[in-house]
Amino acid sequence: MRFSTLLRKELRECLPWLLLAAIVFLAVGGFVLHLEPYDENYNYRYSRISPCDILSCYDLTYYPILQVTGPWLLLSSIGLGLVLGVRHFWIPHFTRTWPFLLHRSANRQTILAAKLTAASIAFIISLGTLWFGFYWYACRPEVFAVPQTLRVFIEGWIFIMLGFVVYLGTALSALSTANWYTTKIFGLLLATVIIVTTLSQWTLAGIFTAIAVGVAVLLSQIFDTFLRREF
């Protein structure tokens, strides 16, 4: 009961940002996807091929149709992670509202769990469902003749997970009591390293390992710091 009350409170705080990310992704992503003349591109792309040609090695490689939405998904995800991290863990410092939140009948684990769950739900609702919708749209044969691969769908979810990693990095930086010029920003730096690691790998196993290790390192510290520190 206490958890659900706290979760509702956190979700209420998430709502404007959740909607903003969803609107940005839906509006811009949908617009550029709608404009993509994919079938014409196929004819245009191969129009220079003529008999006896030896093809260059990259003539036959292609980016999926959903590529136009990729940067928007990644940016929305990272932006949402950053904003939610600041909203959940930094703003209470500035507004001095931590004591009001902590001096409830709920324990600290419940409060932290509510925040993390609210953030996860925000990512799934705002970006996850939209991403699923875009993928479903791009896979319809009457829209685009050649359907998208499952890998593209997974890669979209990796972008969403990267947003969650940024959220955790921001949370750890906000909770750290160190000075900003020492280890305070290390949470955000680790999130950055994980993004760079992820965007320079070709195996999904390597990507998921990097994300899992990063999430484990950040989460364990967030819980430990949150349960121990004085506000």
């Binding site: 196929y42 040609d53 260059s56 036959l60 684990q109 390293v193 790998q201």
Partner: protein
């Protein structure tokens, strides 16, 4: 409470890991900046020194330089010509204004633009790899490139798609699925057409057999079509796939060993006049396939013929042993390039011996050979002609006598690297590093990380050890008054020793506390421990004030 205690055992190592990981990257970036800056300035110096030294060369040195930089070509009768290209066309890489053709006695036979060349030399099977001098086909798609396009980017990863066209319209798309090693075809009206695998084209997924682990492919359009045909090489097989005619032809299968490289000569149908064009009246289509058991397989057509050839054992003792093959209507030829210098010992078996070999190689002059053989149908060789020239040691490369063979700046910069890198290198062993540094993995994050670690490791240098010792000393002095327990204190000293600068910074970041003078024993003590480490006195309590009502009751 229990959760708090349990979490401490996970969170504390996680914090140390995160801090040291980020600081190691920071140190690596710092080292990288110094090395790049040094390399840029060294490059400028070397360029100006080379320009000067070329002007100062004697006639004999100029001649040797010309011979070294000339391409050695063979006429079908075995005559050797040296082709020297003195000057690039400005702004056009790989294209030259004129060329000079010399015979082996250094007589100038002809000079003029390449297109007007009066001689027709033997052309050799170009290797589908883009790494050596036999490469004419720079259009091949290797496993490394496949991995590169699979790298996740903000616009997702790419895939291979082969169109089937009629007129100006694309009618079908055949998409490669790397996980299943098959192609899936889609009609442009949206429905799935079928699958292509090693057994051919089918309409059912279950009937499709995978091609096998992909290695390299190249693509061209036949004379009468605008739909590409692929030559598809897997770990042990070579296929030719024609999507328009829905035909998969198995060209070659190696039973005993994996295929290392393949090369083509006159196999595809290029436009006459282009660089890749071979006169079909003179040459037979040829695929040269080298397998891991060092066997060369020649697959020829017009007429169909297959030949397997093992190079003589004594050829393997020398470095630079490259073999090129070609088949004319009359003969099969082998071109051998080699350097009269013994092959190096295995780096991982004897590092010292390998470094000694490297120093010798850098410092001694070497004789380079090029030989032309005629092959009979049983793989027997007949030497037609050979030519040799001397390679002087490069003057700009200093001979390093130290144990660490790297340039001086790198040696000094790597002294702040953690000795941990050296331990990791030895601990993980040859197999791991061969796998991690496989050329095919280039571009991957872990490849780059492994390459950097190997590049910047301290090589057990004396300065590195002295620096580590100094840092341990500093950590000892810093930690002595702040210590809370002996195991922790010793752990941090060892940690600083292993990670050098990054270790010291991590130690300071996670352990620095203010110190006060103990009111009982007068020694310095940290505030992280309630009891004084020397006299066990507790921290002094604040004095009670007159208005301190809570404490006084």
């Amino acid at each position: 409470m229990k959760l708090k205690i349990n979490l401490k055992h996970i969170a504390r190592p996680a914090k140390i890991f995160m801090t040291v990981f980020i600081l190691l990257i920071a140190v690596l970036i710092l080292q990288g900046i110094i090395l790049e800056a040094e390399q840029m300035s060294a490059y400028k110096k070397r360029r100006s020194a080379e320009t000067k030294s070329k002007a100062e060369l004697t006639q004999q040195e100029k001649r040797l330089d010309r011979i070294k930089n000339s391409v050695k070509e063979f006429l079908p009768d075995g005559t050797i010509h040296l082709i020297y290209k003195p000057k690039h066309i400005a702004g056009r890489r790989g294209e030259f204004e004129t060329e000079q053709i010399y015979d082996v006695n250094d007589n100038l036979l002809w000079e003029g633009p390449q297109i007007e060349r009066p001689y027709e030399y033997l052309s050799w099977a170009g290797r589908l790899h883009g790494k050596d001098s036999f490469t004419y086909h720079r259009v091949d798609f290797t496993l490394q490139r496949l991995k590169q396009i699979q790298t996740i980017t903000p616009v997702f990863s790419q895939n291979i798609e082969v169109p089937v066209r009629s007129g100006d319209k694309t009618r079908q798309i055949w998409r490669y699925h790397p996980g299943r090693d098959v192609f899936v075809g889609y009609h442009f009206k949206g429905e799935k057409i079928g699958y292509a695998g090693s057994t051919g084209f089918t309409d059912s997924k279950s009937k499709t057999k995978p091609f096998g682990k992909f290695r390299v492919f190249n693509a061209w359009c036949p004379e009468d079509s605008t739909s590409p045909t692929l030559l598809w090489q897997t770990q042990r097989r070579i296929f030719q796939i024609n999507f328009e005619k829905q035909n998969v032809e198995l060209i070659f299968e190696s039973i005993d060993a994996d295929i290392r490289t393949i090369g083509l000569n006159a196999w595809v149908d290029p436009v006459p006049g282009t660089k890749e064009y071979f006169d079909r009246d003179k040459y037979r289509p040829l695929i040269h396939c080298l397998t891991e058991d060092n066997k060369h397989h020649l697959i020829m057509r017009n007429p169909q013929q297959r030949l397997t050839f093992s190079i003589p054992e004594d050829w393997k003792d020398w470095i630079g042993s490259g073999c090129g093959f070609t088949a004319t209507k009359q003969n099969i030829y082998l071109l051998r390039n080699w350097i009269e210098f013994r092959a190096p010992p295995d780096y991982f078996q004897d590092e010292e011996l390998h470094e000694q070999w490297r120093r010798d190689y850098q410092s001694k002059p070497k004789t380079r050979w090029v030989e032309l053989y005629k092959m009979d149908n049983q793989g027997g060789l007949e030497l037609l002609n050979r030519y040799d020239w001397t390679l002087p040691p490069p003057p700009s490369v200093p001979v390093v006598k130290a144990r660490d063979p790297r340039p001086a700046v790198k040696r000094y910069v790597s002294q702040i690297s953690p000795p941990f890198y050296d331990y990791v290198l030895r601990l993980l062993g040859r197999k791991f590093w061969s796998w991690a540094l496989d050329y095919q993995n280039r571009g991957d994050f872990f490849y780059s990380l492994a390459r950097m670690v190997l590049d910047i490791r301290p090589y057990g240098g004396v300065i590195n050890r002295v620096l580590s010792a100094l840092m341990i000393g500093f950590a000892f002095l810093h930690g002595w008054s702040r210590r809370t327990s002996w195991p922790k204190f010793v752990f941090w000293l060892v940690f600083v020793g292993i990670f050098n600068l990054a270790g010291l910074l991590t130690y300071l970041a996670l352990n620095h506390t203010a110190v006060i003078k103990c009111p009982i024993c007068g020694k310095r003590r940290g505030l992280a421990q309630v009891d004084c480490v020397r006299c066990q006195a507790e921290l002094p309590a604040p004095e009670r004030g007159k208005l301190d009502l809570i404490f006084s009751t």
